[in-house]
Symmetry: C2
Subunit: 342 residues, 2 copies
DNA sequence: CTGAAAGCGCTAACAT
DNA sequence: ATGTTAGCGCTTTCAG
């Protein structure tokens, strides 16, 4: 393994100059730079990551913390973050809580080992102690989707999304509208968009429409669970809503499949709207609100790296809203019964 | 930031003893160990990752290289690998090629920085030069699903899977069987289970059944693309196959949705079988061959960590086949036409 | 069992 | 612009 000393010797300069030439920090004559780079490539020199991290205190490595890698929103956001980090020459260390299985481990042991320049925390709910612990460890953090007091965050306007989706259905003439969303309280762990449910409830109330307990479903955000819940919801013709607003596209897909299995025609007998912009929605004809998950990832990285730039500390930990886009497809339309009775 | 010297001082021992007590390497008196541990916790001491990595040459960090994080197989495998690594106290550095966008960057710059104890490479096709480069860097590698000559690998028996799926359809009485699978040649980058296509072709040939070019579809493994291809395939009633074997569940789902949109009844007018064990298959009633993606991830980690144990070098780089399980659901049955004509 | 001392490989003052 | 010198914080021979 060739070290920087070998490179320096071969180039006929000191290790310090070799380091400067290779890193671009400090000024080096063109001649020396040339000699160093060619010596380096001749020896196949690759700098030791740990040695340089130890010396500089920075590791060009950021951690991404999330609850489930294999769910669409998280893996798509992760892909975006990965791309932005690659482009900037950073490594990405992944911490997948797998629900809350590894939550304590990650927060306690891993995150604090001074090996990360920063952290992107997705849908993570921290208690006061944890916030204090991380802030006092001096690790820059950007939170996505989760409310992290005192930290920079980016998130969607969930009540706004819930309201927009619901109002879309109302404007089509629906009055019997159900919602499938996240849990009201997910312990102290993750806060998954109960904001969307709030928006739904507000829009219904504003329109003077009834909220029924039976139409307010709590799911774990998986397609399968939403399928089961929707099937139960839709089974009874008398109690059946004419529209469903699902808090994610995967759940909306579950509802769509349940409706199909019950022989209900979409959108005549049931309208369905989701949230995400999942590619699958194209094929399903799913009306949705795209939340640009990939861009959330790249944006989070951009903000984190901005914090890491030398002399960029004093920025206020701002809370940034990300853009969304309404995409109308064929899964939503005016309710059939109403059209008929006209 | 308390360092190990501070701990040592507080405990009234030397840094060397403190290090031994904390790491468990070398022998330390019970008294000293006690003094050190309590001093450490009193100071909230957390060892510096880079310093210890530099000194020991090991980083408790493994890299996972894969082509697409946000595809089911990869993210599920990743979840398994993450769990196994967490349990063993290792960090996971993620390298997502995003197709081949970051392939060169990762292989050239990132992997060789001596910061990883080992690498798990999923569906990665390396050329000779690259294999040599990595082996000579001395990084232990476990390959999953990709043929990596000279390296330890674990993979499914893809021709066997293709054969089993096809024979299932044949045994039900199908003779007009189409296949949707990966590309024949994906450049020098990834080799995605063309083995399944081989198994399909062999099974058809063995049964004396015709192979038609129009029934051998090449897809990019996404639901949307498979949907489009299946729709085209199924549009012409005269040329229509009675069964489709898709090389993944997501593609099978695409075929299912295409069939539905064409008004074809499943399984009467079309049987569909996939590969994966995707959760979505439960709701779709999809017959499939489960390849236990999550376990592939944990198994890969187990084998890699075994290589990393001190004094475990001399193991042959074995090629290990992983188990699969056939799951029959409602998407496959005897062809309708045949049943009628009996 | 314990301490002293010499690094791991690179970088950042500080001189020149 | 370049070289010299001191570390970064921990681990590990080597003595004792």
């Amino acid at each position: 393994m060739a070290g920087i000393k070998d490179v320096a010797r071969l180039a006929g300069v000191s290790p310090a100059t070799a380091s400067r030439a290779l890193s671009g920090n400090g000024s080096v004559s063109a001649r020396a730079r040339q000699a160093v780079t060619s010596a380096a490539s001749e020896l196949g020199f690759i700098g030791s990551y740990h040695a340089s991290s130890l010396a500089t205190g920075r590791s060009r490595n950021v951690g991404v913390v999330l609850p489930y890698v294999n769910r669409w929103y998280f893996s798509t956001l992760l892909e975006g973050a990965n791309a932005a980090l690659m482009d900037a020459g950073y490594d990405l260390t992944l911490y997948d809580f797998q629900g809350d299985r590894y939550r304590e481990t990650v927060l306690g042991d891993f995150l604090l080992r001074k090996r990360l320049d920063g952290v992107i925390a997705v849908s993570l709910q921290l208690n006061e102690h944890e916030v204090k612990q991380i802030l006092s460890a001096g690790i820059p953090v950007v939170g996505v989707g989760g409310p992290l007091p005192g930290m920079a965050t980016i998130r969607t306007d969930d009540p706004g999304i819930g309201r927009q989706a619901t109002e879309h259905l109302i404007s089509l003439g629906h009055t019997r509208i159900a919602h499938i969303g996240g849990e009201h309280e997910v312990g102290r762990y993750f806060k998954i968009s109960t904001g969307r449910r709030v928006g739904y409830e507000e829009a219904m109330a504003d329109a003077g429409l009834p909220l029924r307990d039976a139409w307010s479903l709590v799911s774990d955000y998986t397609l399968n669970d939403a399928y089961a819940q929707a099937k139960h919801l839709l089974a009874n013709a008398a109690e059946r809503p004419t529209a469903i607003f699902a808090a994610s596209d995967e759940m909306a897909a579950g509802a769509l499949l349940a409706a199909r299995d019950l022989g209900l025609r979409i959108p005549d007998e049931l309208s369905v709207i989701g949230v995400d912009g999942h590619e699958m929605g194209e094929v399903l004809g799913l009306t949705t609100i795209d939340q640009f998950a990939r861009q959330q990832g790249t944006r989070a990285v951009d903000r984190l790296l901005a914090q890491l730039k030398p002399g960029a500390e004093p920025t206020e930990p701002a809370d940034e809203l990300v853009q969304t886009r309404f995409i109308v497809r064929s899964s939503t339309a005016a309710p059939y019964i109403r059209a008929r009775s006209r």
